[in-house]
Amino acid sequence: MEWIYFVTCIGILVTMVLAVVRGLVGPSIFDRVLAVNMFGTKTVLFLAVVSFLSGRPDFLDLALAYALINFIGVFAVLLFFQSREVRRAAEAENEARR
């Protein structure tokens, strides 16, 4: 059973690396936000699998806390960028009126 956990860990880690690459090269801001969100979700899964791999169920609490922080963080970043776009649209409207 150990090697199954190990294979799952490897798969999740490869996906995390791919998400980091997408976050680094992503053309738009939203690609980066998507990559960070995906990285956080994969971290939760990775912590859950590692807790079973090492036989320490305390890690599941860390996974739960990480899921909460990840959700709040993504929403904070999205609200920031959304309000920035609205502000830019208002500035463009003011420019057009002049």
Binding site: V7, L34, L60
Partner: protein, 165 residues
């Protein structure tokens, strides 16, 4: 019975790891932001569900499956919400999906209005076509702002109040 549980859990874990890997590969290879989001949602639903169910089957009668169920419920409540907010923010900021016409040739993203945002792009079509290029972009931005206002009015009172403050 123990062997059966082991086999089911192994199948779930391997299938979950495969789905997670496919989703990560899709996020790297897909051509467009919205298609990338489709690939990422694959890992959020199928991969996470299969891996967590496989771990639950291995937990036995301890506290671990309860915590796993809590993680499962939380992930399944939050990841669609985050995806919706992400797509909404991307659409409102003017990121258009790449699409093709009937002949199969890819259009430049600026000309596409058919499958884009229904409330932001369609009203801009007729009046913006007569104007010159820089004014067109300004007109589009004001339309996007109108769409934002419309959406804020539709949303429940708590969120709009938070936005306006």
């Amino acid at each position: 019975m123990d062997l059966l549980l082991d086999i089911i859990a192994s199948v779930c874990l391997i299938a979950g790891a495969f789905l997670v890997f496919v989703g990560g590969f899709g996020v790297m290879r897909m051509p467009d932001f919205y298609t990338r989001m489709h690939a990422a949602s694959l890992t959020d639903t199928g991969g996470a569900a299969l891996i967590l169910i496989g771990l639950m089957l291995q937990g036995g009668l301890t506290l671990a499956p309860v915590k796993l169920i809590a993680i499962f419920l939380f992930l399944f409540l939050t990841s669609p919400t985050a995806s919706y907010a992400l797509a909404n923010a991307a659409l409102l900021s003017g990121l258009k999906p790449v699409c093709r016409n009937e002949t199969g040739s890819a259009l430049p993203t600026g000309q596409v209005v058919a499958t884009g945002s229904p409330d932001a792009a369609k009203p801009a079509g007729k009046p913006a076509a007569k104007k010159t290029a820089p004014k067109k972009t300004a007109r589009k931005k004001t339309d996007a702002k109108k769409a934002v206002k419309k959406k804020a009015a539709k949303k429940p009172a708590g969120k709009s109040a938070r936005k306006s403050s």
